[in-house]
Symmetry: C2
Subunit: 661 residues, 2 copies
């Protein structure tokens, strides 16, 4: 029985067509749909007890799943695309993520053709398993501060890899702790006493025969991390080297080389290629954000439709929680954000391809803008998603605190995205630096490109005022875009003005960094809003589909406008009256989306297995499932708990003085 059938009947749009929009294409939908069901129906991939397992048991089970996934991929002759979807839907962090996602790409991107020819076939067959050993105990954000050394020994034609201090211990690399046989290790290259910066080296860590660490290698797991299940399935590792020797040809030499006689030289491969990789990685992070947020929103939306509280009249049923405006005001902007991040992610894929093509043609002109925009979007989407998942958890009331709701694990497993691949605040400061540079060059005749091109309209934007007169005026995209552009320009210009008062620009940048971060956020939000609006200019088939997306787009920007009302008012682009009209329009859109809410999360097409949440189950039959799940907790193995005789009974019987404690 479908307890949400009534909700589904209310939908005013074609859900199947929306599924295609969400997936990106009919093909992508079909692959995802097929593979996600394949995983969901295979008991080998069950995850419903994951949050109850102790670390060792949990980890062993992850090893099993990783091997089983690999076996299924082979047995079913899955394509590369299908295999990648399968690993995705298995939905359990494992060493394989780093092997495929970091180790292989590092060799591909930084290895010479010869190195690729040697190492990639081994990695592809998993005859070796690799990790990516960059971060150290004392250095994360500041890669140039890494302390591990790789000293060239011309006598033996080897590098000596060494950990000179405790803080130089590698710390955090996933897959390193217990599994990886090899690692790409980043170290400070030293030749003849001279330093040549940070480079990557392929280092074997464990014997391929007995899996024991090689001589000079100390390696282990760094211990428990946030959450039940979550990233505790991963063996994030610690690694120390005591003068470990590797052949010279294991330095990744695509960009720079060390010759037999100890000469350091650059190849003619442009170093800017590194930025192309960064655009790629951050694009996947933005895509992951829309996925994680949409999962949380699915759970909170379905349960808000199931759950009733207060407002019973004449003994009838109570009000569905989703009908409360306070609930809508927290939930629907997150629903809208999930769609917004999806579309900006799609656009980033386009940007990556564009940048790649330009790089191949040695056109580096768009790189700074692409770099700033991907850094900013990574920061914006991951922060909003982490906060959004936790908000969804709170929107489920007390039951959201149960692991069986799926939300605690979703939060714990997602939240490191705010820190890895660039700390979110550090990234926004990079965006701010780019903005300040753009402002300073505005007079020079250099035309701002791409996402920053609105700065070209600075004179108009600085003077223009919002012309909204009634709430519906806020539905005009041009009106909205100008508001976000004016806000972003004015905040950037205000920062630039304040910066110019400092004699030392770096001191000024440090002193004003909190304001600069806010200006960067304003710029990034403009990008997301404008890409959502762009998406709606496309032809989108399916009954009512475009109308729903328009409503969501409106919710997204009006919610931002209200949340950052202070920015818009401080820059005097808006009047308080116009801000109030925006808020009226926002409420009207909530009412419009309400009957479609459950169908809008159905459009994500997530299986109950993938969601891993009783509160979010498709059929809405929440309470019997919660009740049944409770009894599976290990504490319920026995009616009288372990410890009763030693620690509870003596207390009740007033015999504590003789009890052994």
């Amino acid at each position: 029985m479908d307890y949400l059938a009534d909700e589904r009947k209310k939908a005013e749009f074609d859900v199947d067509e929306m599924k295609i929009v969400w997936a990106g294409s009919r093909h992508a939908f079909e692959v995802s749909d097929r593979i996600s069901k394949l995983v969901a129906n295979d008991p080998g991939f069950r995850k419903d007890t994951r949050t109850m397992l102790a670390r060792k048991e949990l980890f062993k089970n992850t090893l099993r799943k990783a091997a089983y996934a690999w076996k299924r991929i082979h047995d079913l002759h899955l394509s590369e695309e299908e295999a990648s979807r399968l690993r995705f839907y298995v939905d359990e962090p494992a060493y394989t993520d780093l092997h495929w996602g970091m180790f292989v790409p590092a060799i591909k991107g930084q290895g010479t053709d010869e190195q690729q020819k040697k190492w990639l076939p081994l990695a592809y067959k998993m005859q070796i398993i690799g990790c990516y050993a960059q971060t150290e105990l004392g250095h994360g954000s500041n890669v140039q501060g890494l302390e591990t050394t790789a000293t060239f020994d011309p006598q033996t034609d080897e590098f000596v890899i060494h950990s000179p201090t405790l803080t130089s211990s590698k710390w955090w690399p996933g897959g390193l702790g217990k599994v990886s046989t090899h690692g790409v290790v980043y170290a400070r290259l030293i030749i003849n006493g001279e330093e040549h910066g940070i480079h990557g080296f392929i280092v074997q860590l464990r014997s391929l025969e007995d899996h024991l660490p090689l001589p000079g290698v100390t390696v282990g797991d760094i211990g428990m991390k946030f959450g039940n299940g979550a990233y505790n399935t991963m063996d994030n590792g610690v690694l120390r080297f005591d003068h470990v020797r590797i052949p010279r040809n294991q330095m990744l030499m695509r960009v720079s080389q060390v010759t037999r006689d100890g000469k350091y030289k650059q190849s003619d491969v442009p170093r800017q290629l590194v930025y192309g990789t960064m655009v790629y990685v951050r694009q996947t992070i933005v895509a992951d954000a829309s996925c994680a947020l949409s999962r949380a929103v699915t759970i909170a939306t379905r349960y808000s439709a199931v759950r009733r509280q207060f407002g019973s009249q004449n003994g009838g049923p109570e009000t569905q929680v989703i009908d409360y405006k306070t609930q809508q005001n927290r939930l629907f902007p997150l629903l809208a954000s999930a769609y917004a991040f999806k579309f900006v992610g799609e656009w980033l894929t386009w940007l990556y391809n564009d940048v790649t093509q330009r790089l191949q043609a040695s056109d580096f002109s768009t790189l700074p803008e692409a770099h700033a925009c991907t850094a900013g979007l990574k920061s914006l989407t991951t922060t909003a998603t982490a906060d959004g998942i936790e908000e969804c958890r709170k929107l489920c009331g007390g039951h959201g605190y149960l692991c069986s709701s799926g939300l605690p694990e979703l939060f714990a497993v997602y939240v490191p995205a705010c820190t890895y691949e660039g700390d979110n605040t550090v990234l926004l400061l990079q965006v701010a630096r780019f903005l300040m540079k753009t402002v300073s060059q505005l007079g020079s005749g250099k035309k701002p490109l791409g996402t920053i091109s609105y700065m070209g309209k600075i004179e108009h934007l600085m003077q223009s005022r919002c012309t909204v007169q009634k709430a519906e005026d806020w539905l005009k995209p041009s009106q909205v875009l100008e508001a976000f552009e004016a806000r972003a320009v004015k905040m950037a210009v205000s920062c630039a003005k304040n910066l110019s008062k400092f004699t030392n620009p770096e001191e000024g940048f440090a002193e004003l960094s909190a304001d600069l971060v806010e200006a960067a956020v304003a710029h990034c939000q403009l990008i997301v809003v404008s890409k959502f609006i762009d998406k709606l200019q496309q032809d989108i088939p399916g009954k009512g589909v475009k109308q729903q997306l328009e409503a969501l787009c409106g919710i997204y920007y009006l919610y931002l406008l209200h949340k950052h009302q202070g920015d818009f008012l401080a820059t005097s682009y808006l009047t308080p009256k116009q801000a109030a009209l925006a808020n009226d329009q926002l409420r009207a859109l909530y009412t419009k989306v309400r009957p479609n809410a459950v169908a809008l999360v159905d459009s994500f097409n997530y299986t109950d297995h993938f969601l891993g949440s009783i509160l979010g189950c498709y059929d809405g039959n929440v309470y019997p499932k919660l009740y049944d799940a409770a009894w599976k907790d290990p504490l319920n193995d026995s009616v009288v708990p372990e410890g009763y005789h030693e620690y509870v009974r003596p207390l009740l019987k007033q015999q504590l003085h003789t009890a052994k404690l």
Copy 2:
């Protein structure tokens, strides 16, 4: 060696005197100091492996600690106050929290003298262990919607306690799952087919001989909750009754009675007493908020002083993270909030005593205001604290994600405070309702009292404009108070105006609830700001102590002013220029607090045991401790992990087809 000694030398105030201020009195400081050290030095209370234990082991260890704590309390002849501090510093949620914190108070508050005489001695000696069984699977916030029934049987002079539906199962009560022998069970009283609302009943659940559930009782644990360790030490329970009979005298009858012949009557004890209890409970929640937030801030502040990243010049050490303005801008407002919540909590203690005295004199006049203000402060402080703990975790970079940082557990164990004892959004709506009522009565000559008295100045506040001309003007308390008062009044009046446009007031309230919540927040923030300012009017001894508190108070209100700039600008009390000056002053205060930051968290006087965080340890010797802690993870018990032979080796050796998976 003290790695933070340099930081401590910088302090410009008397830390010992600040410790007294934080503790509330010299006596309170001395008790806390002595008992916290007693707990910290007792290996029986160690908690450093808590996040690694599987559920059963974890729970058994909690049972041991609870019994051991009870034994220590007796052996050392601790006073009531000392015993309570000891349980606090043991810092592990356990069934005893509910026994002492809910079961005993429920009998004291709702039981007749006779009932108290019978049950309290048993509870005091722990010959029985009790829980508080109110919340059900289908009903949390809406207590009047509880479904459990207590039907009077005049034949046998008994109540029949019954769970008529699945959703009527009791769900969540702490201590219920595995330990409690008794519970105060809330149920819908039915006499002769007629309903008389929700009442409390003392029900025995388990045999005092073999701990088995009594006939008709189904009871168990509801399963894993958010986080490692955290609330998984608690046996939150599920409970169903199948026509369980209890004697009539086990209904708690202080306020209403059922007579032998089945008559329902009210006693002359005023029902308003319930509100007095609510003020008490919420006061303790606000105090807990300042404690939890100050713990997180201690960890983040100390580690921000230890951690260095970027900015190395000429090979010298890198910049301490705490010197970055972006770090200060996130951390110092939380430090200030911890102090702000402490002082507003102290004031709530006063309020509770005041209300209690008035109630005893049958003066109910201040109750609505006291109720609104405690509801609002509970909501404001718990939301800010949960968000603040997570922000502190992020401020520690990647290492904050490790359980050994203490922050994941602190967050997971704290965050339910946003939901229990009144969902934070529901509470703000109650505050809003009170505000709307106050506004509507303003013309009636009824003078607003206490925290709402500023509404009496409405005509002045609606018209006044901020007179700040330079940044330092924002240090004047009168200036600040007027700004917060004007904002709160204007937001409330604006809501009232919009409400008046609706013909059905309840419909209007529902439609505008998001705006109403914002008006309620503005009111509550005003209370916290004004109580901090009041505190500074007192005589505060000790070199530099008052100056530091003044700086923190300034940070608290200027940070709020910046964060809610939109409110202040939308109500036209401020100009954008004046808001910018507030921001300049805020930055100046960060600079003032910076050299005192470590000493300001030392003033909380937390032991390393209580903090439970390597990143926050007093001596700042973080990295060796992190490194050593890693090796204690169960995964490091063996060099080659369990599962290697079954699931990793076959993969490496290309023998997966024969592997058993």
